[in-house]
Amino acid sequence: MSTATAEKTAPLQWNYAPAPESVDPQFRKRYDLFIDGKFVAPAEGNYRPSINPARETTLAEVADATAPDVDKAVKAARKAYTKIWSKMSGKERGKYIYRIARLLQERAREFAVAETMNGGKSIRESRDTDIPLAAAHFFYYAGWADKLEYAFPGRKAKSLGVCGQVIPWNFPLLMAAWKIAPALATGNTVVLKPADTTPLTAMKLAELIQDAGLPAGVVNIIPGGRPTGAAIVQHPDIDKIAFTGSTAVGKWIQKELAGTKKRYTLELGGKAANIIFEDAAIDQAVEGIINAIFFNQGHVCCAGSRLLVQEGVADTVIAKLKQRMATLIIGDPLDKNTDIGAINSKEQLGRIEALVASGAEEGAEMWQPSCELPAKGFWFRPTLFTNVSQSHRICRDEIFGPVLSILTFRTEDEAVEKANNTAYGLSGGVWTDKGAKIFKVTRQVRAGVIWANTFNKFDPTSPFGGYKESGIGREGGWHGLQPYVELE
């Protein structure tokens, strides 16, 4: 008889060594406003530091645009619209957009590092998702520029004029691409305001647009805070507003624009239901739940923040989920092995903490893995809540952080009812091994985007947008052209 089985070798304690991405993001010390093809100082001379939320260090100073600057930008955009861009053929417009796409692709790594340093998201995501998708949007809409008559057969698609675009801090460059690409393809000019915490990739995009030789004034980028955004919304010579951000601001914009001729699209909050049926491929569903809620630290309007799991597999799913959450690597966003980066800002961290505290107070049961967090910067552990009821704030309010609320259901009907019991309707997910169930359930969930057996998949060809308080209008795909044209 062999003694082979008696010998035991102690397992290796294996910790991945740091693997930081080392490309230089090429930040300037100071960024002015990008108006009429040039970088110009702000009228009131104010600059604010833009920081790295993972280290709380200043990366660059960025100009703060005020009402006079907005006016200047709108005038430049109007001039460029009237004199050049609206007269240019679609084919020529397309060439410029393709050039932006190619330049972005060539400098993808530099932009990824910049995005990660300024926003806190992991380099894995900025490298594999944000920047490639941003380039893909420019490529996609460049292709439409000379084919608008085929997009709207029998009708003439006329451009609108000057578009005011206000974007959020969760996907800074990608949101800029979502806004700028379709506007340019349809012959409009743009005044874009990046979010006040994450202006740096937008300013780098301004440099790239200069390099691409885009005619002056076609794209103007003016960073600033809420007053800047308000000045854009209220400017009388803007024809269309495109906003992505919070539902509260979206409602304010709607009130402001009531009775004006300005068109608008709003892409607002969400509280998506991710429904796991007991016949789902459980291990892959668990991975899907992780992607749904912890992608980009949960700073995702379409995050799957409400998990609805069928009771027969609830214990299994929750146990597996905890096991998987314990393997998530939290820390330096520039490390290629980091899964969860820093929270975007101190303010956002405060909002997450307050909502999580309310969850515990209202009687839900909280669980977090026992990972260490860096001493500096803004961090929040991936968190799940069980014992959640439909009336808890953590089940109703958008947390916009790595926090998952878990509810169970028994029947299909109950799942649908719970999924729809929200003020939002942006996205949703259904996990089942049965094809027929996918179609039956997804047709009943009132949300703009529903994924089956996957989550958080984005593609420039696919329209994106919400029902109810999640917004109005669609971005992406053929649908994304419509808000930027007047059909005759």
Partner: protein, 331 residues
């Protein structure tokens, strides 16, 4: 649904209560084996491939890379399974297993050598008490196309020659026909014959066709008493792949969750580079956790992997790559 020896699919913790001496079920009067009605979970291939792609983005550098390379080396089942195998070739392979690269001190030896039963005696004589195991393939390897008695004879012969481990093949024909109880009983019987000899159950995933079947066959082999589940014989393409490995590791994880027992897993065939080996270790680490980072619970079946790992280890130590001429071949 899988059925066991008495027509039930046993709850896994009971399935292990087969006496290794007699091969009979140990049952107290009051204890009836009761069926486990939980079906094997569905597996979504697209999701598995996405998970693998994400795991492959792990960047393993510096000291963690050296650790991984040494660990991978210690997990290798150095294999030769050719009709042309000779005593001389097996002796050379055993020497290589003991002295993987004397120019670089401090390296572990491989876990085992894997040979046909007729070569077990030769290998045992070479390896003696080195701690390197001798594994024999048996039960009509690689096709499994023999009658039951012949397989048993093959198995008994390998054990009598002194094999520490046996790599068996399941009857794929029976499995694909849906005769799951036959396959289960066969594995359980082989395990009872093996006793303390480690039994690795080769599923030959390249012939199973779907990841659903890979998962189901893994559950079956674990419940029937296999100490390890192994992907492939190396004689069928595709051999080991990362998606298949992930699914089998998930089966091992769930089995541990249910029963508290730690079983092993061995991908075999097609793992040729150090980079691949590190990717596999990442999959193990993030699926089963660090407890499985030991040759007791994870192995690589490979014939040419050793030298690629050595090349990387020399590079980490000296900063330059050496030509393959500087690394002795295994056989």
């Amino acid at each position: 649904m899988v059925y066991g020896t008495k027509g039930y699919r046993f709850n896994s913790c009971r399935a292990r209560q087969i006496s290794v001496v007699t091969g009979e079920l140990i049952m107290q009067a009051s204890q009836q084996p009761y069926p486990n009605w939980q079906p094997s979970p569905a597996v979504d291939q697209v999701g598995v491939e996405e998970r693998i792609a994400r795991l492959n983005t792990r960047s393993i550098k510096k000291e963690s890379k050296v650790q991984a390379l040494k660990l991978a080396l210690s997990m290798i089942d150095q294999t030769t399974l050719e009709g042309s195998d000779s005593a001389g070739k097996v002796k050379q392979m055993c020497y290589k297993a003991l002295h993987v690269h004397d120019a670089l001190p401090g390296l572990p030896h491989v876990a085992a050598v894997c040979v046909y039963p007729t070569m077990v005696r030769v290998a045992k004589a070479e390896l003696k008490s080195s701690g390197i195991h001798v594994a024999a393939v048996a039960t009509a390897f690689p096709s499994g196309q023999a009658d039951h008695d012949t397989k048993i004879q093959d198995l008994r012969y390998a054990i009598s020659e002194g094999a520490d481990e046996v790599d068996m093949v399941i009857s794929r024909g029976a499995y694909l026909r849906g005769e799951y109880n036959y396959v289960y009983d066969e594995i359980a019987e082989f395990k009872s014959i093996c006793g303390d000899v480690h039994l690795k159950v080769i599923l030959e995933t390249g012939e199973l066709g779907t990841l659903d079947r890979v998962r189901h066959a893994s559950d079956l082999a674990l419940a029937a008493g296999g100490d390890f589940i192994k992907t492939s014989t190396g004689k069928v393409q595709p051999a080991a792949t990362q998606p298949v490995t992930l699914v089998m590791l998930e089966a091992v994880r769930d089995f541990h969750q249910r029963t508290g027992q730690k079983r092993g897993m061995k991908p075999a065939g097609g793992i040729k580079t150090a980079k691949q080996a590190i990717q596999y270790l990442v999959i193990v680490n993030e699926t089963l956790g660090p407890d499985w980072l030991t040759p007791d619970l994870f192995r690589f079946g490979a014939s040419t992997l050793t030298n690629d790992i050595l090349m990387q280890l020399v590079k980490e130590s000296t900063g330059v790559y050496q030509s393959s001429d500087y690394f002795s071949q295994a056989g």
